[in-house]
């Protein structure tokens, strides 16, 4: 199979999927190793970008998803009459940032940082699928720990939680918690 054919296959896979497709799934489907699959995806993504196409490919934690180009936003919105997206409130934004940088984190730990109850904010973020339960802490009461989702990455256009813009004073990472168990 020629490279251009593989590129077409990757294009069709990304087009048809309504979610981010893991690199491994793409590699397996086109029967290539991950490095080759990745190169093909990136070639395609670059082509979209260079040719200023109506679609783009974004990376989300080692998975890939096709989306519309930002330049086409107004038109799509007009056709679907979709309302402007309401931004998050400051409380939600702050809570979300805490979860993103400190994950996995419990509600009590969030409250400690913000100094206010996080009950409403956390449940709101879970409802918006920006945050989800990722396990339970191995301490008395086994409190739920939260982490960010792929929807969170899409919401801000981040590639991965490891590539978030650094906190102003991010040198100290003592906040990392390692005594938790991931729930299946």
């Amino acid at each position: 199979m020629r490279l251009s054919e593989l590129e077409a296959v990757v294009e069709s896979l990304l087009f048809i999927s309504g979610e981010a497709v893991p690199l491994s799934a793409i590699a397996q489907t086109i029967e290539m190793d991950k490095a080759t699959a990745k190169a093909i995806i990136h070639t395609l993504a670059d082509k979209y970008e260079d040719e200023k196409r109506g679609v783009r490919i974004v990376e989300l934690e080692g998975a890939y998803q096709m989306c519309t180009a930002a330049e086409c936003f107004e038109y799509i919105r007009n056709m679907y009459k979709s309302p402007n997206r309401q931004g998050l409130t400051q409380a939600l934004l702050e809570t979300l940032a805490i979860v993103a940088y400190k994950q996995p984190i419990t509600r009590a730990q969030i409250e400690e940082i913000r100094g206010v109850s996080a009950e409403h904010a956390v449940s709101k973020l879970v409802e918006k699928k920006l945050v989800c339960e990722v396990g339970r802490m191995d301490t008395p009461g086994k409190p739920i720990m939260f982490g960010t989702t792929n929807e969170f990455l899409r919401y801000f256009g981040f590639k991965s939680v490891t590539e978030l813009p650094p906190l102003e004073d991010a040198a100290d990472h003592e906040g990392k918690n390692e005594n938790y168990v991931i729930e299946e």
């Binding site: 309504g18 799509i76 931004g87 805490i98 100094g115 256009g157 906190l167 102003e168």
Partner: protein
């Protein structure tokens, strides 16, 4: 303080209010004039109008903390400076710094949020959902109508294959792939294809490397689907391309 009404719910919490005061007064966070800050903080609480107790309690806890720090600092020092314990302000400073970092980053995030809002992601297509949820649940469906005779033929085939395997002369010949395709399987194949695309050309339903038998079975499957009124074919002109599409209820 002037005659202005303060709404505490404008502040996301006591830390936010404290942080606001520090910013406003250009206070050095590492050397907080705790007495002045405490006074201002309390003034804000006084000015706050009709705040419900639930929202208020968190602010009051912070007020207590501030007063405690203030009183500790006011106590006469009985020891030399070296022996002095940790600065009572330290914990508060650490919390404020932590909060400042988060607050700082959210400014940047606002921009990202706006930019990312310009991009749309497609919902999972029904097509994909249909393709995915296809595990046959019923045994009858799983077995696809095979009969005892099919089973018998399959067995025959396996045993023959096994015998030819030890045949040195024959095994040096190129092996001919003996694929078994069922009409049922091919009907499913065509159905799946029409899930992904509303219409298909006649030629596209045959796999690129299909051998004769597979093509025959595929064709039989197409005829069966037409008979069952699941698909329809059309041809715009004589010798033109034949198009296959889902049956739309019209004849």
């Amino acid at each position: 303080m002037e005659h202005i009404t303060i709404r505490l719910d404008a502040f996301e919490g006591p830390l936010a209010l404290l942080y606001h005061l520090i910013e406003k007064n250009e206070i050095d966070i590492y050397d907080i004039p705790i007495a002045r800050l405490t006074d201002q903080y309390l003034e804000y609480l006084d000015a706050a109008e009709d705040t419900d107790m639930d929202g208020m309690s968190e602010f009051l806890v912070m007020a207590a903390t501030l007063l405690e720090i203030k009183s500790k600092l006011l106590l006469p020092k009985t020891k030399t400076e070296e022996e002095e314990g940790p600065d009572p302000r330290e914990e508060l400073v650490l919390r404020l710094l932590e909060y400042k970092k988060i607050k700082g980053v959210t400014h940047e995030w606002r921009q990202w949020e706006e930019e990312a809002a310009l991009v749309f992601y497609k919902e999972a297509d029904d097509a994909v959902k249909q393709l995915k949820s296809k595990e046959p649940q019923v045994l009858e469906e799983f077995l696809q109508g095979i009969t005892m005779e099919d089973l018998y033929l399959a067995f025959q085939q396996v045993m023959n294959r096994k015998e030819t395997k030890v045949d040195q002369v024959r095994s040096s010949f190129k092996t001919v792939p003996k694929d078994l395709f069922t009409v049922h399987e091919k009907m499913e194949y065509i159905r799946d294809m029409l899930i992904l695309q509303p219409k298909a050309t006649f030629y596209s339903i045959f796999r690129a490397n299909a051998r004769r038998m597979e093509k025959v079975v595929t064709f039989l499957a197409l005829l069966e689907l037409i008979k069952r009124k699941e698909v329809q074919i059309s041809q715009k002109m004589n010798f033109g391309e034949i198009t296959i599409s889902r049956y739309d209820g019209r004849d």
